[in-house]
Assembly symmetry: D2
Homo-oligomer: 344 residues x 4
């Protein structure tokens, strides 16, 4: 649509598209509204008819397998509002930190305090835990969600936590600010569809052996079902190398910035599985241009129920954040230059 | 338990174990009952106490991460009863065949006729389809399940079909004889737990980048939640090789027979992605000792909505089954020898 | 060339091609001579000119990246003569067996006796050993080659052994009947070029992470440098799975038979790394249609300097060969039918 | 040895070790001499005997599969002197840049000028080219080496170029300052042994599917055969992802710094295969703490014989180097702090 298009114009375009038998999906940017039409068959008649309308700036055929998430479709980068103070994809680098699992009230409140003190914007913590073994701790479930909400109250941090089943989406959305999809659920399509209607931002983790294209297709599921606020997360892929828990495909951060307008978050904790490797990879993630980090920290990693080996202890966490500051300053300078230059 | 143990004995053992604070899981074989106890901590006192009971043949500690599915835990191979005529894991090689998706009444009835005529025991066909793209055909859902039930009536074949969400388990179980877990859902733990209570045999496909151990852990989820009837399925893993759709880890069939008592099914259609490669791989699967095959066939592959390239047409399907006969005869001879020898 | 083409015809065609600036490579089959021309640029003028010659049956442009090794280029399957009794790629399945390394005179003579008694046609044994560590046994080198020659005299078996450097090609070729290229050297192009001129058949093992196409390109190096007698060997690729030493891409055997006229050998020892898995995989290799097997056997695997865990002991070796017989009978029947049908 | 040990002391220690039947390898650092003993069997008697000597500071058993390259064995980081001005592994970040192949005198002289102008220290350029296809350009060989020597004269840059066969080591060493081992030759053990005696620093590229441990073992080959000056190079590994040419395992740079004293170079050109991704990955490489970069640049990438898609054109090259400056300043600050702190 043209910049000056009004509601009436938009409605008339939507009616026109529907007359051709296509489904509609609309993304409202700050400056401009983009209307997507999904369907099969010959599109030329519809495109021609739309181009003839005054309020339409341009009608184009998107042929990439993913449409709404592509930078080709929407040229302005998506900025996701988490709460009044935190926006992802903008000129502020966003740090999410916290323990792997919510273990107790004391543990999560201490973690939130730690996270906030170190400069994090969002508190992470799992209440529903995907575990390879049925005999491992499966999470505190709703009790854990309640503790996360309490930690938000105490610390002012936003909350990100995982949801593992479409049945739980409404429950988790009633407590969390961001719903996380774990790597093993990246192609749980029932879950993705439910997240399209959850009304909360989603952090979508890349599957262990998913390609970048498949990650974008999974994001497309969420967007096509109604939710534009999707953050993508590189957390390491599975390869033959066993020196690290996963192999961090850091270049995926740069590739994604070429292909999509959605923000990209790096998870150096799962990508490495070893705490000494987290700070150097975090620096690299800032340098390559990710929009944020998600990290595991714990008041006492030796006693963590899960993922202790990759969690930073308080001293390491504060030291890492201090060490990151000059890199974050360079990041911000470069991001502002980019936004000034192309509006992206 | 000893072979002559009666219900009263079993109940007394269960009470004793529960007194020690462990959870119970029971597998009733034809000759003997095995009682599993799940818990943490020092087990020696409990074991000693059980060994002192007359009705207990042996009390052992299982330390593998998977317990109930391990051959160490239960030495007799699991035979799964699908219906009166079909048992998997026994001395009959089982063939499951059918289209990727249920597309129409005519297509599925023709497919069932084809499958039966070629000698299949089970009809496959997807009603809920996991698709990488939200814009691809997502399946006929319940209407498809109804058509599958109709095809069962007409052909006498059992039905295997995929379930994608824990929410749909009861629905799918009300129509299907076997519930299939797709590769992308192998670690959808909410789904696995629901399948533990579904009362139907499950065909669990190996994830694209899942290890054999992880496959067994996912089977353990289903068994630990109450369902002993799990078939494992090798369907190719993801590697760097692009000449085939996936890389068939055929040796996994032999490895699984060393590690678990559960039957193993090979899927040469997804493992190769190309119909000309299906018959040679099917032969290899019989030769290596799998318990069955699951194959894609279609009355008219050129018109298939999905997976046409890997579906056999009727002539190829009949030819393949004929070609397999001498290999199946060798398979049966070797299986009977094995069963005679060790009862496994 | 036409079937009745004489030397003079062939020479005239070669001159014509050279006039156009192309390089020549000739493959003389039993019935027909094929002349290849290698070069870049527009080929239409040359093709037209050749088609105008009476002695030329057909002039075609081969566009696959590999030419001489492709089934498109040469439709009759290559049969490689190892010695008077052994031909690979024909209607006899070929078995190569022996220890990983030549360790002593007694060990290799005993191994040769074992191999012959079990029905092998070729004795394997490494004199130059590629070892990950510089501190591991690097092989007996020329002394080992001499022992292999002695074992050939005693047993009548042909000899296959590895060559690791272009500098050693002449030396190894003076002792061995078949020169093996190890997986780690599949893209040692200096070595491949030297093997093009060695005058002996070559067994080319697939690299740990080489695609099927790259394997064919490496074979193309050897053929393009003058040696048509190349056997390809699938020995497992590197993946994330650690339950086996490598992941056997058994379907590669079937893919290669669609793409190339060269014979394909399967190595179940390196593909699995565990002796109990070797016999089932060997059966699968016969069933899928490989032309032969290469296996590790040892008079006393517990004392083997290298690869003991994957070597069959004498009893296992004899048992495996006996078990294979009905599968080999099916193999032969199917191979003869194929050769009768299409002459390939 | 103690810091004040003299030649006589060293000789006495060597004699003592040799008396126990071990082989000797000596690394002379700036402050201290380290003497390594290689052998098998019980080491306690020898260690005890050495500890009793006054000139010996400490006698320890190194059990890692790699010894001389491990940080456990030699705690001070190796600094490699390339020429009077360039040292790798020190407090200067080293940039190597140039075309994939030497194509002509004009091309390589222009490239050298470009490289120098942008701030590179070393000129790269292939004279012997490892190519998947025998029909692709194989390099200018010795003529190319002569052009590289000429480019060194003109530009003052040091030269790094690949050697592909042990037969060519002496020839390449007579022209080049650094000998490169390509990814496909990382386990060409004959070549590694020859490089142990070449008298020049070696740049050892990680194999496409080699683990970090295998990379260190290959470096160990070179060091154990007499050459301590080995640089390790991460250039991307082979995975299922096809969005980039390889998958850059950037964390390997950090892992290697924990395991070895040898310098680590990152190759963002081969790791990505796409020029737009090179600058962001180069930034990440600096941030994670690599010791240098090796990059492909070309006066006219569109006309490059090989690797044009991943070569930077002059404008991109200058822009990237300018953009890197603040990151290099942070790198230097952190490196100096580290050297000041622990002498490592």
């Amino acid at each position: 649509m043209r910049k000056n298009a009004v509601r009436e114009d938009i409605d008339s375009v939507i009616r026109r598209i529907e007359d051709f038998g296509y489904k509609i999906h609309t993304i409202e940017g700050e400056e401009r509204v983009v209307i997507g039409a999904i369907g099969v068959g010959d599109t030329s008649a519809c495109l021609e008819s739309l181009e003839a309308m005054d309020c339409v700036e341009k009608a184009v055929r998107i042929s990439a397998p993913y449409k709404f998430v592509s930078l080709e479709f929407k040229k302005s980068r998506t900025v996701i509002r988490i709460n009044d103070r935190v926006h992802v994809g903008n000129s502020e680098f966003v740090v999410m930190a916290g323990p792997c699992s919510v273990e107790s009230e004391r543990q999560i409140l201490e973690s939130a305090e730690l996270a906030a003190k170190g400069g994090a914007h969002v508190l992470r913590g799992g209440a529903f835990k995907p575990r390879t073994s049925p005999y491992d701790f499966q999470g505190m479930e709703e009790a854990g969600l309640k503790l996360l909400a309490k930690a938000r109250e105490h610390s002012g941090l936003a909350i990100v936590t995982e949801v593992m089943s479409d049945q739980d989406v409404a429950l988790v959305a009633s407590y969390a600010d961001i719903l996380q999809v774990g790597a093993r659920n990246m192609q749980n399509f029932a879950l993705l569809k439910a997240l399209g209607r959850c009304g909360r931002p989603v952090l979508l983790k890349r599957g262990l052996s998913s390609t970048i294209k498949e990650l974008l297709m999974s994001a497309e599921y969420i967007v096509a079902h109604g939710n534009n606020d999707v953050m993508l997360c590189e957390r390491g892929i599975r390869t033959f190398e066993t020196a690290t828990r996963n192999t961090c495909d850091i270049v995926a951060c740069a590739v994604l910035r070429e292909l999509t307008h959605l923000p990209v978050i790096l998870d150096p904790s799962h990508a490495t599985g070893k705490r000494s490797l987290v700070p150097p990879l975090a620096r690299a993630g800032v340098a390559i241009g990710a929009d944020g980090l998600i990290l595991e920290i714990h008041p006492n990693p030796q006693k963590a129920i899960s993922d202790g080996a990759q969690s930073l202890d308080p001293a390491q966490w504060f030291h890492m954040m201090e060490d990151l500051q000059p890199y974050l300053a360079l990041w911000k300078k470069s991001r502002l230059a980019e936004m000034g230059a192309g509006g992206v």
